[in-house]
Amino acid sequence: MAMEMRLPVARKPLSESMGRDTKKHLVVPGDTITTDTGFMRGHGTYMGEEKLIASVAGSVERVNKLICVKALKTRYNGEVGDIVVGRITERRRSAEDELAMRGFLQEGDLISAEVQAVFSDGAISLHTRSLKYGKLGQGVLVQVSPSLVKRQKTHFHDLPCGASVILGSNGFVWIYPTPEHKEEDAGGFTANLEPVSLTDREVISRLRNCIVSLVTQRMMLYDTSILYCYEASLPHQIKDLLKPEIMEEVVMETRQRLLEQEG
């Protein structure tokens, strides 16, 4: 049986040339962002004495009169209309609830839903009032940092490589085999338990490793980046994608392709 061992190696510091020329205003907590009181304060800032002070470490973003600091890693802040993926951990135990929901959603089920409302203390209420939301059947879940999921018009993508992906804004990414035909009448509450073919399973595993590589190298996740990463990873075996040097290589290629496509 072949065994692979790795020894720790000193980290190479990142070269400045790798990034683009955008001079971002980076701040740490306690830094004064501005003393101009005309600005409204957004996330990541607070008002101290007469000036706006940063409360997280990140880059300053200014939209007209609103200043906020975007931290590197944040807890997910719900916004109305976001798609989220999550697992039911607990449910209200009341009579009406028993009658209505028990048949459809149980504790432990994985679901996709949309944010309906956000309360003042941060609690979120979700709804699955559309046929595209509901219980998720067979597939793979990847948990990433919410700050790496790009805000897009739609978060449900059917990738040409043969699988579909749901990019939850809360950082939960669900990869599943593309359904053969859209079952409009069934709705989202019956799970498809037919066996998944080997080719589909390989595509899904490869996608999962690609997403993990992108996240490790701190790249934003959206349909194009995932697709390019998948295509760049094809020469390698699926299990090799978890090795650091191959991860770096694949993500570097993805980054270059994305840059070429933009510029």
Binding site: E16, K24, V28, P29, D31, A57, L72, R218, M219
Partner: protein
């Protein structure tokens, strides 16, 4: 006086430092991918690791939830191999509980808890090698870990210890200097505003000397802030390069 001379005539300490000089500090953020935030710090030979989880739902009894702010829960633990003599109980003993309480007090002052009502923030600190100034190293490591987790804070919390020997205030005590039995003061500071988050001393010190020792500790804490600031900026810069856009 026979025995170890904590401060020589020329003004050098046991390890060759000057009275107000800090030990070499090296720190790294984001050492664990699984935790929300993590950091590792070395202050001379004192090594501490901090891990932060949160903000998340209150674990255990819901009754403990505060309706308007987050609960900060700190746990201090020192490894059995961290001191000269192997420790029996890594956590749960009196000193660890007290340290946990002090850390909680410190961070409740700095973290903007009003932004996360009814949630809990867990800070776990582990000392891997204790060579004096363990409280300070823990606070510094925990600050970096909280920053790594993206939890909003008023400012950095920088801590340092100080002592008093031969009418001179010493900053950043090592184990040898602490064991000698003189007064020791631990100070946690919010550098931008100069506000004190925690000040602790359990020895006898004449009040005339207090200001001198406090000043030495504050100056050392600001030096620590300069170093931690550099570490955090470097980390943010690298991450923003990777993120691109």
């Amino acid at each position: 006086m026979a025995g170890l001379e904590l401060l020589s005539d020329q003004g050098y300490r046991v390890d060759g430092r000057r009275a107000g000089e800090l030990r070499k500090i090296q720190a790294r953020m984001g050492v664990f991918a699984q935790a929300d935030g993590s950091a590792y710090i070395e202050q001379g030979n004192t090594k501490a690791l901090a891990v932060v989880y949160g903000p998340h739902e209150i674990r255990g009894s819901r009754a403990r939830a505060l309706p308007d702010r987050a609960l900060v829960n700190c746990q201090y633990s020192s490894a059995t191999f961290s001191t000269g003599e192997r420790k029996r109980r890594p956590h749960g003993d009196r000193k660890s509980c007290e340290m946990g309480l002090q850390l909680r007090q410190t961070f409740e002052a700095a973290i903007l808890t009003q932004l996360h009502p009814r949630s809990q923030i867990d800070i776990y600190v582990q000392v891997l090698q204790a060579d004096g100034g363990t409280y300070a190293a823990c606070v510094n490591a925990a600050t970096l870990a909280v920053l790594d987790a993206g939890i909003p804070m008023r400012d950095f919390v920088c801590a340092c210890s100080a002592g008093f020997v031969d009418n001179t205030a010493l900053a950043d005590l090592s184990h040898v200097e602490e064991a000698a039995g003189g007064p020791q003061l631990a100070l946690a500071l919010l550098p931008a505003s100069g506000q004190i988050a925690l000040l602790e001393m359990d020895a006898r010190l004449h009040e005339d000397h207090l200001e001198q020792v406090l000043e030495a500790a504050a100056r050392a804490a600001r030096d620590v802030h300069t170093l931690l600031d550099r570490v955090v900026r470097q980390h943010v810069r690298e991450a923003s390069i990777l993120l691109g856009d």
